[in-house]
């Protein structure tokens, strides 16, 4: 069986086509989903890609969160379907309360584009099984609203439940609390992170490394063996 992974396009989404390409390279079928779609075309997993949906006006992700497609995604995510939010997608997941916390303007106040080192803190999610816990990877990061924030209780809970999935290494590019780059929900099927694995799947392109490919192979393996 070939896994079918949906990629949502909101108005203003930018990395949808790259994400589709990354999914194909990893060996699954990428299924485009439109923000007005009310059903998910029977996909097995969904990626909310990066970009500036609705221009990031109001707050990043604040308007997209109300799109018709999000209703279906919230429902199926709560039922266990793997969902990955990258950058703007992560912001949408927070706004939609599928993940706790919120994203704020970078402390440096600038857009930051860099090759970012991360530590994969856990392989116990749908999207990180092909990494080893503690593994260091380097993938592009590019955002202006990437400062992950939550109250202390939530942060402690995330830590104790092993739901901090990625942490910035060497440099915290945006002032995220506890160097958090990505988190998951309690069940581990919903993951959000600021850096961009889909830009690190081909040796020649971008940073020239393929450290992001395992996101997609992880979920594909899980879906195919399920």
């Amino acid at each position: 069986m070939t896994a079918r992974i949906g990629v949502v396009t909101f108005p203003g989404t930018l990395d949808d086509r790259d994400t589709q390409r990354a999914i194909s390279i990893a060996g699954a079928e990428a299924v485009p989903l439109w923000h007005r779609d009310k059903d998910l075309k029977q996909v097995d997993a969904v990626v909310l890609p990066g970009g500036f949906s609705y221009g990031d006006y109001l707050r990043a992700g604040a308007i997209s969160r109300f799109s018709p497609v999000m209703g279906a995604i919230v429902e199926q995510a709560n039922g266990g379907m793997p969902v990955l939010g990258i950058c703007n997608g992560f912001q949408v997941l927070c706004e939609a309360h599928l993940l706790p916390g919120a994203m704020l303007r970078n402390t440096g106040l600038h857009f930051v584009c860099r090759d970012q080192k991360l530590r994969v803190e856990t392989s116990a999610t749908a999207w990180t099984a092909d990494y080893a816990a503690g593994e260091e990877i380097s993938i592009p990061l590019k955002n202006i609203d990437g400062r992950y924030t939550a109250d202390e209780r939530t942060l402690d809970e995330l830590e104790s439940e092993g739901r901090v999935v990625f942490r910035y290494q060497e440099l915290n590019p945006n002032g995220s609390l506890r160097d958090i780059a990505g988190i998951s929900n309690a069940a581990g099927n919903v993951v959000g992170l600021m850096p961009h694995p889909e830009h690190a799947v081909e040796p020649l392109i971008g940073t020239g490394r393929t450290d992001g490919l395992a996101f997609f192979t992880s979920v594909i393996k899980k879906l195919v063996t399920a």
Binding site: P11, G12, L14, D15, R17, D18, R21, A22, G50, G51, F52, Y54, G55, D56, Y57, H110, F111, V112, C113, R114, P140, K142, I144, H196, E198, H199, E202, L204, I205, G206, T207
Partner: protein
């Protein structure tokens, strides 16, 4: 206020009109009356005045720009030449590439963020209007003195604007320039380039043909912002913003533009348009008159159907408004419904505002009454032409006689070392990562090389690995010393940068930034620079496909350095063989290609160490540039070189420093026979590059150079973690890196 209809105008020939306030000259106003056989209506006057402005009509420059056509080299690559929104170049495999560079200088001085942002937005729509998907942007920028307080206002705003708009559109920024010079104080240069890709059959042109076809305006609503923007763009002073109380500043909405791009590409895919034009300077005046002028018939527009953001706008203001993020399409009646459906899908407002008519006139109505009745060509293509007087300024000889070769040179190795550090840490030579890290270079997932590489390279076909390369260059200091040679040096440098990454240079776009054309000295600089560029393009076989002229970049009688910025587009058939600049393998040999002479006029060294500008710029040898490019391309194709970096401002030591820092490896250099260390390190002789060659390839590579007659010398080896010049000095990479990286952030805190 009563409506000034065509009928009313015909009956009131004596009514006084504000032609002067609109920037028209007396004879120009007389000519409009002659063309129309009556006085123009207010709406017609608005149209003529914006379309006949310097910015839209190129009235001072077009007699010189003609050379780009007259001297165009023979090439099969050019699919669409000068005159359309942008030129189109055949890059093989059925692909066509369109690219163009434009200026948004004056608006960016007034409001840096929005000025720069809308500059990016405007050039992207030009590329989109050709039928192409925009795939990357670049931003050649120039600011006043690095330590001037106003630079702290302008630079961060411009950079945030370029980034804010481009990032939000999802266009990777793959290169540009950041140059500081006191001559740009008060006149920063914000140039923006966009490149787009399409299949040959997708090329679209700006023409309104087919009687009965509908004129559809789509995108943002029309508002009062930007009215008078055209006059600001090209007028002598910032305060002559036309008759309107409306602000001249335009605010961009990159989200709207992103929707416009996706919506337009979907419309192209379904072949729903017969002609298309973006709305830029002069707004609807420009779009309607140009579409009608290039088409076969006339056009009728119901102006009151235009969706407005501000209901109080007058018809004149609607015609002149430069509200951003709008496009105008000509659509067959049977395809209108589908067109509107796609717009609805993307939340883009679209309105049928008129149709193509049988006749030959552009007619515009306001609630049923006719307010415009003109021959469209007279508005769009038959504006005034000036043969402005020009003369070589008398100070030019004095300037050239002030030879930089006489400047005091470092007396010993210690001074030499100190000057190297001063050079690589000077604002113009320092790392620009503070700027470029604010730009997304990864989006779209096709970026093969981006800043700080010699050229930006993007893959355009993921199956065949076909790619294009682009570099922009300009050196106002060289051009000030000799505008003819300076323009050719800009061209040669961009050409060399493209070749250094392994791509074959194909075509040129240019942005000519100069002072006031009413100053004969400036006009001479302009004439010389265009002549130099046209001759250079002919010699290199790379036609000019389009570009932009920005005049009046001056404060009082103080003009900026003449600054022709040249963009060269190249093609690389397999991006896998692109050559990066990094020295990444210890033990590889460093070879210097080309001749090094004592050439310091206009050099970075003369600026940094002596604050001097005088003498002659480096000599240009375009045959040598071609040969060098061939060698660099062959070296890449045959896998002989692992790194290459062109030599330009700052000379060899600058290039070696950049390649070492990028690769994280040091280098041991030996001064070749016949050269002194100072000249070896700092000369800016053109036609040179350094390459890193695996030892196993040295003989094959140097044999190739020998056989083709390109001088090559082995100058060192990649080694250690310092840059060492044997017998002179060594500088640890960490120290070089700190000097190179710290400068720009230090200036802007």
């Amino acid at each position: 206020m009563s409506l000034d209809t065509v009928k009313h105008a015909a009956g009131t020939p004596e009514s006084a009109q504000p032609w002067k306030e609109l920037g028209l000259k007396e004879d120009e106003y007389a000519r409009i009356r002659e063309i129309l056989g009556r006085r123009p209506t207010g709406a017609e006057l608005a149209m003529y005045s914006v379309m006949w402005s310097e910015h839209c009509s190129y009235k001072s420059s077009k007699v010189h720009l003609k050379q780009f056509g007259e001297k165009a080299p023979q090439t099969d690559a050019l699919l669409v030449g000068i005159g359309e929104n942008a030129g189109v170049v055949d890059v093989g495999q059925g692909y066509a590439v369109t690219f163009k560079i434009e200026s948004h200088n004056h608006p960016s001085y007034i409001e840096p963020y929005q000025g720069a942002a809308t500059g990016v937005g405007g050039i992207v729509r030009d590329i989109l209007a050709m039928g192409a998907r925009p795939v990357a942007v670049m931003d050649p920028l120039r600011f006043g003195a690095a330590d001037h307080p106003d630079t702290k206002r302008v630079l961060p705003g411009v950079v945030a604007g370029v980034g804010g708009y481009g990032n939000c559109l999802g266009l990777p920024n793959i290169g540009g320039e950041v140059v500081f010079d006191p001559c740009y104080q008060g006149n920063p240069l914000v140039n923006a380039l966009c490149v787009g890709v399409m299949k040959h059959e997708d090329i679209h042109l700006a023409q309104a043909s087919g009687t009965g076809n509908k004129v559809i305006l789509y995108g943002a609503r029309t508002g009062g912002d930007g009215i008078g923007g055209v006059s600001v763009l090209a007028s002598e002073t910032f305060d002559s913003t036309g008759p309107s109380r409306r602000p001249a500043v335009q605010v961009g909405d990159p989200f709207q533009e992103k929707l416009l791009i996706e919506c337009t590409l979907e419309i192209f895919r379904e072949q729903l348009v017969a002609g298309i034009q973006d709305l830029g300077g002069a707004g609807l005046s420009c779009a309607t008159s140009e579409l009608a002028s290039a088409g076969s018939g006339g056009m009728r527009v119901e102006l009151d159907t235009v969706p407005l953001r501000d209901a109080t706008l007058s018809p004149e203001e609607i015609l002149m408004s430069e509200s951003q993020e709008r496009m105008c399409a000509i659509v067959e009646p049977g395809k209108v419904d589908r067109f509107l459906e796609i717009c609805e899908k993307w939340d883009v407002i679209a309105t049928v505002i008129g149709e193509v008519t049988e006749g030959s006139r552009l007619e515009i109505f306001w609630h049923g009454e006719q307010i415009v009745d003109v021959p469209p060509r007279s508005v769009a293509h038959e504006g005034p032409t000036y043969h402005r007087p020009y003369a070589r300024p008398d100070w030019q000889d004095t300037l050239q006689a002030d030879d930089a070769g006489r400047l005091a040179r470092p007396a010993n190795a210690e001074e030499l070392r100190a000057q190297v550090l001063a050079l690589v840490g000077s604002p113009n030579q320092a790392s620009k990562s503070w700027v470029t890290d604010q730009y997304d270079r990864f989006v779209q997932g096709n970026t093969v090389l981006a800043q700080p590489e010699d050229s930006g390279v993007v893959r355009i076909d993921a199956d065949t690995n076909l790619g294009v390369a682009l570099a922009t260059d300009g050196n106002g200091r060289y051009a000030k010393l000799d505008p003819y040679t300076g323009a050719q040096l800009a061209l040669a440098e961009a050409y060399r940068n493209v070749a250094a990454t392994g791509a074959k240079p194909l075509a040129v776009s240019d942005c000519l930034n100069f002072g006031s054309p009413e100053d004969p000295a400036v006009m001479w600089q302009f004439a010389e620079a265009t002549r130099g560029l046209a001759d250079g393009c002919l010699a290199l076989g790379t036609p000019v496909t389009g570009g932009n002229v920005s005049l009046y970049n001056q404060t009082g009688d103080q003009a900026i350095h003449p600054t022709p910025v040249v963009a060269v587009l190249g093609v690389i058939d397999d991006v896998n063989r692109r050559t990066p600049m990094a020295f990444s393998e210890q033990g590889q040999l460093i070879l210097l290609l080309g001749d090094t002479r004592e050439e310091f006029g206009g050099s970075a060294w003369s600026q940094v160490v002596h604050d001097h500008l005088g003498g002659l710029p480096p000599a240009v040898d375009l045959e040598r540039e071609k040969l060098l490019a061939e060698i660099l391309i062959s070296g890449s194709r045959d896998g002989m070189i692992d790194a290459a970096h062109d030599l330009s401002d700052g000379g060899l030591i600058q290039a070696v420093t950049e390649s070492c820092l990028r690769g994280g490896n040091g280098a041991r250099l030996v001064v070749p026979d016949g050269l002194d260390a100072f000249t070896f390190l700092f000369s800016e002789s053109a036609g040179r590059a350094i390459v890193a060659v695996p030892r196993s390839e040295e003989l094959r590579f140097t044999d190739m150079c020998g056989a083709r007659g390109l001088p090559v010398s082995r100058i060192g080896v990649i080694d250690g973690d310092a840059v060492e010049v044997q017998g002179e000095f060594a500088i640890p990479l960490a120290e070089l890196g700190a000097a190179h990286e710290a400068t720009i952030p230090g200036l802007l805190v």
